[in-house]
């Protein structure tokens, strides 16, 4: 997002520091929250790991897809050879039971899939949500009715069930991670469209937007020049909270075996078989589970922080009368 987008004021955002640009104010408020700052650091680290996955595995000297049959004991059903599930200098986190694939490599490449799919899905949700929400808010009664009903229908569809069913009917030749991102995006844009529509309806009545409309600007130009900048704050707030949800959904779909397919590694998929091996190779369960937990937790805390920074009023409401000086962390 460009600074100009963040800078513009949405309704409900106060501008307590006159002169300071919105973006700078946003950073100042985000920095004031210790938890959000730590979370931002963790998220940055995770993104770095995901981007540097090929480099990291090259340093280790492994890759996520090569089988190492010599490292698993086929007589004992494929239990990794050696102590602690095969941890050692060659395989930093041990190897996968049965196949002997390197766990460290699968874990860091899994970060790519998790973050990549979640971000792409969020992008799809936000794009559809903005288009549908703005069109419903600006359009005439019929357009609004039609789009709002369509949004209701999308909201009412059970997310897991729909994604599951849709993933099954698309031919397997389609690149899987892209497909998972697309389907999550296409099934779950309802709530963001509703939020955008509500904000558009409020903004439409404000003088500067009304003036632009009355001076004969087309709907497209009004939406692009006047509405979008003002919608940035609520959209960013909501999108930040969508990312962790999407991470969970991708992991769930891959866990069920319909999401990202092997040999592409994914945290959810790694957990599918983990329960059988927990005694021989506990890290096979603990690593993807821990990675998921840390990622979702960090993104959730960061999302909360972004919300507080963009809409301080909503956050400060919770503090009134509690006699606390510190920021309400909920």
């Amino acid at each position: 997002m460009s600074e100009a987008l963040v800078a513009s004021q949405a309704p409900g955002t106060d501008s307590s520091v006159p002169g300071a640009s919105g973006a700078r104010q946003f950073w100042r408020r985000l920095r004031a929250q210790r938890a959000a700052l730590v979370a931002a650091g963790v998220v940055a680290l995770l993104v770095l790991i995901a981007l540097a996955a090929p480099l990291l595995t090259a340093i280790e000297g492994q890759d996520p897809t090569t089988y190492h049959p010599s490292l698993v004991d086929s007589a004992r059903g494929g239990v990794p050879v050696g102590p602690l599930g095969g941890i050692g200098g060659d395989h930093w986190l041990g190897v996968e039971p049965q196949t002997g694939r390197d766990l460290f490599a699968r874990l860091v490449y899994g970060a790519r899939v998790s973050l990549g799919v979640a971000l792409a899905a969020t992008l799809v949700q936000v794009l559809i949500g903005i288009v549908v929400g703005v069109a419903a808010g600006l359009g005439n009664r019929w357009v609004d009715q039609l789009l709002s009903r369509a949004t209701d229908v999308i909201v009412a569809m059970p997310l897991m069930i729909m994604s599951l069913a849709l993933l099954a009917i698309v031919p397997s030749s389609f690149p899987r991670p892209v497909l998972v991102a697309l389907i999550i995006g296409l099934v779950a844009w309802g709530s963001i469209a509703k939020i955008v529509r509500a904000h558009t309806l409020t903004l439409k009545e404000l003088d500067y937007v009304a003036a632009a409309r009355l001076s004969g600007w087309g709907a497209w130009r009004v939406a692009r020049r006047e509405l979008l900048p003002a919608l940035a704050a609520p959209v960013i707030t909501y999108a930040a909270l969508l990312v962790p949800t999407n991470i969970t959904v991708e992991a769930a779909l891959s866990f069920l075996g319909v999401g990202v397919k092997p040999p592409t590694p994914s945290w959810g998929q790694m957990l599918t078989a983990a329960d059988i091996w927990y005694q021989a190779a506990p890290q096979y369960l603990l690593l993807p589970a821990g990675a998921l937990f840390v990622t979702v937790l960090a993104l959730t805390v960061l999302g909360d922080g972004v919300r507080t920074a963009l809409d301080p009023r909503a956050a400060s409401r919770l503090r009134i009368g509690t006699g606390r000086r510190r920021e309400a962390k909920a």
Binding site: A150, L159, A165, I169, L285, A289, F293, R317, T322
Partner: protein, 342 residues
Amino acid sequence: MSALKGLSGSLAGFPGFALRRLVGAVVTLFAISVIIYLVFYVAPGDVAQITCGPRCSPAQVHQVAEQLRLDDPLYVRYWHFLQGVFVGQDYSTGTSVQHCGAPCLGVSYQSGQQVTQLIWAKLPVTFSLVLGAMVLWLILGVGTGVLSAWRRGRFTERALTAVTLAGTATPVFVIGLVLMIVVCGQLQLLPFPQYVPFTEDPEQWAWNLLLPWLSLALIESAKYARLTRSSMLETLAEDHVRTFRAYGVGERSIIGRHALRGAVAPVIALSANDFGSAIGGAVLSETLFGLPGLGRELVHAVTVVDLPVVVGMVLVTGFFVVLANAVADVLFAVADRRVVLS
């Protein structure tokens, strides 16, 4: 006085509101059926070939296509489907003609079983799972929320906030997996879950479902704790509470009677919503714990491209979501009379 006025005003408009909401739900459900039908019957590959099996000759495949009416135009098939839902339909099994009664969602390509019967058989499992978990997560969630609103600003609240945050960040299959390994595997406190029908043995039913209930409840209750806490804090900040305090009303009474009241409406609305989405979301816990409910049946149907079952399942879960949302709206209006009924 103003509260009384608001009460009479909202009750007058209430039946109309409930009716409108219900009609809206029916329209939404109809739209869902059209979309689902379109999506699943336009997109797929060669259903006849898949159903018949890889060794079928072209003639056999053709016969299957005819028997399943796969060559009819789409609108004819959708019309047929609607007929089945409202008045039932007859279908041929190749040797005899069977009747499928009024809410007929078609017949499984694979087993030849009626989809309605299939769903009917699986529904008790999913309902047992979701209802039991819901009772637990309401108790846990609201309890935690009340406690942290009461002990606000103290260590208890901060600890509870941290725990609930961890709860919202954990996927249900992760906590379920870990609990299953620790509680059933290592400590052997509970059996590995296995579904026992309630009518057969209520004690075993509950004993076996306890772990799935706990896993779902631990995750879901976090949301309720946050909601309860924030609605209570909002009420506590209102002027009338300050008045109560000035009159010497005790903290216990303020928390238990007045602040809690503010949380009732949002909690009821959220739980009705969540009931719907939990029916759809049960697929995860059912797969993890091996419970033979709707979700697991759907996963199976999806892998063998059994379209009538897939469509039927999506519709039925959609039905629960829509119904639950409508109920949530109506309950919210009943519980919180400040809601403007427009």
